[in-house]
Symmetry: C2
Subunit: 270 residues, 2 copies
């Protein structure tokens, strides 16, 4: 089996969680990244049963809009609490924390960053008690306003330094590849990378959302990045996550997953 | 008169250079940012005559695709040479250097950055001799692949440190607003900011290209940024530059310029 996970965002429009579990297991990968809407649609008990039967590891549980929604509405605490509890139930390797951008009407990104830190600090005791590592995901600066105000790996590591144990980082190639400080930041992250996600950045990218590329089809040196992340002590399952409205979401999901596996094999051996 | 310039990209589809010179002067601003295609369409002699008659300062001359074109083709040296010479002819305060992204087929952004540094070093003697300051513009990381591999103000300042006199930076709010290191980088840039461009980042931004907002319509704290840039010794004309395919490019350009002036007055007084 390939030491690889597929994030179910890769087959979002095509497959339910049950179908994704079956499809990924059949393709010979070892893990799955799970999304809350898909988990809730399936039902927790059924999902746990299917996951156990499949033998798949849950490499990540996706915590988007954690503290602020895309429309700028501030989330109540129970949104994040529920995500931690669900991540524990499905034994996820981590809860990926995409903290949210600016509250509606705000022009204060520094303030948004301080509030994200405070809310992560408040969430942390529950996550530690549940045994769920928090993985702070730096998100590409083009989504600083609406998806996350944490936009560099160094900024995420500064938060880890401030917050203590139980918090690490999620390194997603798509979000961090451009950063001139990336190599140094990955070295700084030693022992604290709890999620590693791969996709490619297409030279001909057309849309701000959901236009990610299959590894190998773009301009990121994913082989070098994978080596750097492993040298920084990452021992989890690399996870391919491709949101692709114009291409992969329109294809047969079995084909998409098969090609993910092929491309990851090429990355590993290069 | 308002201590402000308008970059002619703001009225790109509506006005020729001659029309922009007349329209901006009539609106009571002091400067204009000029684009090469518009200058060449007008003709150098005619442009110089109109600029002199108008009394407008040329706050910047736009040097895009300086070393690598958007399609990844590497530019010959004479492209940058001609831009320096034209900037000198129209007495521009600076040549804004947007160096280009990755050459076609490359996955080596570190290499692209080294080549940009080397080509700037090679261009610098001609720029110094012509009396044209080079303004290295850090470009938003979402355009790292195709517009510029220089993506943070600190990266631009590192280049300035390496290159010596005759080189500064262009601070464009749109490109740098998200950077957690921005305040420190602006302070570091003291005395080296040779161009300052303003527009806004729309919370509801829809497109990767040409979807910039009128100052005041988005989420950047332009008042605080302007104060920081001035505290760092910038004494040139702030320049409003709004590429807006869905809104301002469809309006009466006289209205767009009038509102630019109003919004800048509000930024200055807040």
């Amino acid at each position: 089996m390939m030491p690889l996970a597929i994030n179910q965002a890769t087959t979002r429009p095509q497959w339910t969680l049950k179908e994704a579990i079956a499809g990924y297991a059949k393709a010979g990968v070892r893990g799955i990244g799970v999304w809350p809407d898909k988990l809730r649609e399936c039902g927790l008990a059924e999902a746990k049963r299917r996951l156990a039967e499949s033998g798949l590891v849950v490499s990540s549980y996706a915590g988007g809009e954690l503290f602020v929604k895309r429309d700028g509405a501030v989330q109540p605490d129970d949104v994040a609490h529920r995500l931690v509890d669900e991540a524990a139930e499905i034994k996820a390797d981590c809860l990926v924390c995409v903290v949210g951008g600016l509250p509606a009407g705000s022009r204060d990104i520094a303030g948004a960053r301080m509030r994200a830190r405070d809310r992560l600090a408040a969430l942390l005791p529950r996550a530690r008690a549940a045994g769920v590592p928090l993985a702070i995901e730096p998100v590409h600066p083009m989504r600083a306003a609406d998806v996350s105000c944490i936009n560099t790996l160094d900024a995420a590591l500064d938060l880890c330094d401030a917050l203590g144990t139980g918090v690490g980082v999620a390194v997603d190639a798509y979000h961090v590849w451009w950063d001139p400080a990336l190599s140094a930041a990955i070295a700084r992250a030693k022992g604290r990378i709890v999620s590693f996600q791969l996709c490619d950045w297409l030279a001909e990218m057309r849309a701000l959302m959901d236009d990610r590329g299959m590894p190998g089809d773009g301009i990121i040196d994913l082989s070098a990045l994978t080596k750097q992340v492993q040298a920084a002590g990452f021992t989890g399952l690399p996870e391919i996550e491709i949101m692709s409205a114009r291409d992969w979401w329109k294809r047969d999901p079995n084909e998409a997953v098969r090609i993910c596996v092929q491309r990851f094999a090429a990355i590993r051996s290069s």
